[in-house]
Symmetry: C2
Subunit: 223 residues, 2 copies
Amino acid sequence: MKPGSKLPNELALAKMYGVSRIPIRQALAQLDQDGLIRREHGRGTFIAKDFQRPPVVKLTGITGWEVALGTKHHFLAEETVPASGQLAEFFELAPGATLTRFRRLRVVEGAPFCIINYMPNALAKRVNRTDLQANTMLDILVKKLRIPLGKMQQSIQAIAADTEIAGHLDIEVMRPVLLIENYTRDRRGRPMLYSQSFYRGNQSKYLVELQNGSGRKGMAAVR
Amino acid sequence: MKPGSKLPNELALAKMYGVSRIPIRQALAQLDQDGLIRREHGRGTFIAKDFQRPPVVKLTGITGWEVALGTKHHFLAEETVPASGQLAEFFELAPGATLTRFRRLRVVEGAPFCIINYMPNALAKRVNRTDLQANTMLDILVKKLRIPLGKMQQSIQAIAADTEIAGHLDIEVMRPVLLIENYTRDRRGRPMLYSQSFYRGNQSKYLVELQNGSGRKGMAAVR
DNA sequence: CAGTGGTCTAGACCACCAA
DNA sequence: TGGTGGTCTAGACCACTGA
């Protein structure tokens, strides 16, 4: 299918696939959300142009549901640490309770980034240590531990590298670093995982596509 | 409604409001996406807990469809500039063509941030200069020029402040700065606006809520 | 005006969950 | 097992677009 070409209309698609309009509309809505097609009221549905993605300096990884495969993780440490105020709040823990922390390094296309995962001790016990070398923690939760995940909140900020992070990322201290924090809950809303990922500032971009719509639905906010 | 309390089921709501299940489901899907309710297959629909939002250091502004009101913009400059390679590509311009650039400062809760907007000259001519002092460019496009907007792509990165940005943000050179780039198109996919916003690194977080779902739908990726 | 996507009705069946 | 949300059928009407 060529960019800009028009798809058959919904009724035609429904007949083609022998279903009614509703599943067709759901599928098209999905494709629309994924940016593969563009729907125009009164005109039709079109294959999306190969949007000139803002040219990215360099790929360094993926955060979210999908996961870059084939990249190895270098295991740094596993520790049991007291939950600080914020984390105790997120994990709904009593003050003084502890969490398990995993620290890992990962290299994608030559650029290293550092990942720190915090999870409840009971959950951490179920993690197979060898899985940590080839999977993201989200993958482990979903595919290995079979935990259906729900919403995930991320926050992105620019910080200055401290000595430890600078060492891991192989940059100078005080250089800008992109820090992505991730608060993950299961389908019932129970806290499962908190992670921090540190990326080299000059080699990473976080891309967001905001919803179409005429006023509502901004999914992201800077605070 | 108290957090965690259960809503009537869909059929009941449909009868209450005298509509069928479909609009009820659409409304609930919207509330779900906005994080106000949580839907659980086989159990019911519940008012969302007041999720302990990861405590934000400080609010500095909002990017997206919605807009912080009542904050003034300090107009810095309006210029006609040649479109660089990337921008020419986004705006589908011939090499050598020009764009209009507006530079403004904005202060929210004591923290300044700097906004640079690029737009086609023809569009820029339609912008009322006095509107620039109290509205975001998105607001101007939507509310003043009545341009229905479509998708918006944002990229977030951590950069080091150069002398100019450092001056505007009142920080030291080389300190980390959050740069948010925004590629805005109208409903037909035509390029309308490109903007850069610079925020103090230590006072700004970009928040993203990723979709629920069991595998698909990651809306954001780090590249 | 005809054709399109957006929304709706009034049902139906399935998948999941808790008791 | 009964109740829930998830999905579907087979229609209908409306709102927007372009000729």
